[in-house]
Symmetry: C2
Subunit: 200 residues, 2 copies
């Protein structure tokens, strides 16, 4: 087939390695979890990815740009349950969240990024549009299903409910250090149904 004249010409030299690209992003993600954003160095990323530093700077203009792209790829997607019961749906999501926070990598990721988010809008956007949004969307679906089912009141502040539920987890993980376990999941569901449930 003839090449379309309007196509951009193919690049001349050796193409950039997709493997290197993936390895670099994976290394950046791992290092954010392990040492946080502030202590993450380009040298360490290159070393772990098995590339030279020049390859990093050839593709990303700064550490901030590299890390924000890497972080954007992290999405711990929790399935939206559909058990037919709002209580069981909520419980399923909360228990999955407990498991998510039980992974030390999640704590490392969050704690390692919070400081950077406060100072870099680029990092903040990547985190919020990434796995923060993924988690919120799941909870939102469950709540909307609960409303449609008539178990939760119409007109409740869904964003507030999401913040309350998610905030409790992140607060325990990042600030108070209190336990995050299935007992908490049950207590949260009970509280949510009391606070946002339709009157019996």
């Amino acid at each position: 087939m003839k090449r379309n004249r309007l196509e951009i010409p193919p690049p001349r030299g050796r193409p950039r390695s997709g493997e290197a690209h993936a390895a670099i992003l994976a290394a950046a993600v791992a290092l954010v979890r392990e040492v946080g954003y502030d202590a993450l160095t380009m040298e360490a990323v290159a070393a772990r990815a098995g590339t030279g530093k020049a390859t990093l700077y050839r593709r990303w203009k700064s550490r901030e740009a590299l890390v924000s792209e890497a972080v954007g790829l992290i999405v711990a997607r929790i399935p939206v349950p559909s058990t037919g019961s709002t209580r069981r749906d909520l419980l399923a999501v909360m228990r999955d969240t407990v498991r998510l926070y039980a992974d030390p990598a999640t704590l490392g990721l969050l704690s390692g990024l919070v400081a950077a988010m406060a100072r870099s809008p680029v990092i903040a956007r990547a985190v919020r549009n990434g796995f923060v949004a993924a988690w919120s969307d799941t909870v939102r679906r469950v709540i909307e299903n609960g409303i449609a089912r008539g178990d939760l009141r119409r007109g409740i502040d869904i964003d507030l409910a999401i913040d309350l539920l998610g905030g409790c987890f992140s607060n325990r993980a990042l600030v108070t250090g209190r336990p995050i376990d299935d007992r908490l999941a049950r207590a949260l569901v009970d509280a949510a149904l009391r606070g946002f449930g339709a009157p019996a």
Copy 2:
């Protein structure tokens, strides 16, 4: 009066300067707020305090020791209101908390310490025993008063309630970036009274 023989002898040379001590701690606190723990350097603390580095190392054996002592001194104490109404009491505390978070220094302090807390038990303890405990104690009092008054149910999980309320603030400040204002304060009080209030 004769000196008691059992007393420890007074130190021989020039006594350590209390002013320098206070200036160093104040400088450390300010720098934690501005740049976070990871980026806080002993040189910067000394420079801001107007002392030499030697004075720092003469008194604290490490950056961690210095910062944890400094952080322990920060306590934004919120008064325990006593309006006679559980709703108004809660509202007063939540509004004070909104004001607390409206101060950029609070956000800087929290975000700058979260990463350090995840890696240093010493820092974590200082923060939790300091202003985290101070805030929690205030809310606990208000809730206990509400229970005693019969407005909140006996047997509720007070720690959970505190985590829910406080977590919503810290989650918005540190993670989601959603607004923290008086509207949120009202919504939180409404939710708390629904979730933990006694049946009418």
